[in-house]
């Protein structure tokens, strides 16, 4: 990828990559490192990208694959208490902070699916392909994640999902 094009793409999608990594890895330190690693892949990539959507999907897929691999190294596994994690971000409303905590306290497998489905607007089929799991597993994870969030956020949340 040409350097001028690279910086534009990286700045446009750095938060996307960061959020996917944060949901997968559960802490900002490793998510920041992962972001650099993913964009290094893009920098060195010889891929021809057809569109912005193509780049976005490619970046999400690469992030997930690198996150999977990184957890195999023990020093890449890190536990960060939720209060410390929450302190890394500033939320406009207390309710948003509560939602963030509730989501980040979920297991990784639920967090990632939720993020890809609700934030990145990926379909169940696309998520299934990216995570290399069955479509039924995606819908099960989504359903369980919703149940757990409903339980955790019952005072905040009374609307339908």
């Amino acid at each position: 990828m040409k350097q001028a094009q690279f910086i534009g793409v990286a700045n446009k999608y750095k938060d996307t990559v960061f959020r996917v990594a944060l949901n997968y890895l559960g802490n900002t330190y490793d998510a920041e490192d992962m972001m650099q690693e993913v964009f290094m892949k893009l920098f060195n990539s010889k891929n021809e990208f057809m569109s912005d959507e193509h780049i976005r999907h490619w970046l999400i897929r690469v992030t997930i694959n690198l996150c999977k691999n990184s957890l195999r190294a023990p020093w890449k596994r890190r536990h960060v208490p939720i209060d410390e994690l929450k302190a890394s971000f500033v939320f406009e409303h207390e309710e948003q902070s509560a939602i963030f905590s509730a989501v980040m306290e979920l297991k990784e497998k639920y967090r990632t699916v939720l993020y890809l489905f609700y934030y990145e607007d990926l379909t169940v089929k696309e998520i299934s392909s990216m995570l290399n799991i069955k479509e039924s597993a995606v819908t099960t994870r989504l359903s369980r994640a919703r149940e757990q969030l409903k339980h955790k956020l019952k005072e905040v949340w009374q609307d339908e999902f």
Binding site: M40, P74, R77, H79, F89, V103, E105, K109
Partner: protein
């Protein structure tokens, strides 16, 4: 508002604070290119047999004597695959040579971590929720009681202390005060970020203006002896390093080594073990640092102030 809308409003506020700098990627790319020239690493036994040429007066095995036994397990995701047989990147202890209790403790801890919760299942269960262990072990990778017990067992076995507190983002002046060292960074050497543990173990990110054309960044780790610090460093292929000893202008003898992609300065002092990871190597794409350059670099540190 639907769940989806609420979810989006929350995560739209989750952003990375890290800037994307083109220079970082160009630098890393050039390091990788030099890494591709690495030829196959012989078995450790063969390495030991070939050491007579580069054996160091102060420490017979130099860098090789700092390699952790679990060094081969580092993930190879960062090393590009190519047609040559890839060398195993090695990781070194930053706590001391292999005969030190600090090295042995970190080797044992790394071996434990390597075998524990390999699929991350336990960590996934814990998530970011409270473990009841966070207050005591927040500076280590501990998320189960079993890990806490193992860590306690190791520090007790080797008579070491665990870190309990850390101060981040210290200025150079504050670092000198907290470390109780006085000024040890010389002219043309400055720190732009530092943290310190309660016992004086500290880390610096800094840079040295080597000459008018070259400013070279470095990371320095000063591990106080008697404490358990679990910081490690990937040095790539040890065979790529040319090693020698040098007595700095501060009168302290240090071990220097240069590889195509990075250089190292190591000082085994009375109270601490110092590793300086110089982010430049002999490759023209990586700063073209020479032996004289690295010696001049080492002279910008007053190691006697740390001794």
């Amino acid at each position: 508002m639907s769940f989806k809308e609420k979810y989006k409003s929350v995560f739209s506020q989750v952003r990375s604070l890290k800037a994307i700098e083109m220079e970082d990627f160009i630098m890393k790319q050039s390091i990788r290119k030099s890494g591709r020239k690495i030829v196959a690493l012989a078995a450790a036994v063969c390495l030991l047999a070939a050491l007579s040429v580069s054996a160091l007066a102060m420490n017979l095995f130099g860098l090789r004597d700092m390699i952790l036994p679990s060094g081969g397990i580092i993930d190879n995701e960062n090393t590009n695959s190519n047609t040559e047989t890839p060398a195993s990147p090695k990781i070194i202890s930053l706590q001391g040579y292999s005969d030190s209790k600090e090295y042995q403790a970190v080797a044992e801890w790394m071996a434990f971590l390597d075998s524990y919760d390999k699929d991350g299942e336990l960590l996934a269960k814990v998530g970011n929720g409270p473990t009841g262990l966070d207050e005591k072990y927040s500076l280590y990778l501990v998320y189960t009681q079993e890990m806490a017990d193992k860590l306690e067992e190791i520090v007790e076995k080797y008579g070491l202390k665990l870190h309990r507190a850390i101060e981040l983002d210290l200025s150079e002046e504050d670092l000198y005060k907290r470390a109780g060292t006085g000024k040890f960074l010389g002219e043309n050497n400055s720190s732009f970020s530092a943290y310190i543990y309660e016992d004086g173990t500290f880390h610096i990110d800094g840079e040295v203006v080597l000459d008018e054309n070259r400013t070279i960044a470095y990371q320095m780790m000063n591990c106080v002896k008697g404490s358990f610090t679990d910081v490690i460093l990937n040095i790539g292929n040890p065979e790529d390093y040319n090693e020698w000893t040098y007595t700095t202008s501060s009168g302290v003898t240090v071990s220097l080594s240069i590889s195509p992609s990075k250089s190292l300065i190591i000082a085994d002092l009375n109270n601490s073990f110092v590793t300086i990871n110089v982010l430049a190597g002999s490759d023209p794409m990586n700063g073209a640092i020479t032996t004289l350059d690295l010696e001049a670099f080492a002279d910008t540190f007053d190691f006697s102030a740390l001794n």
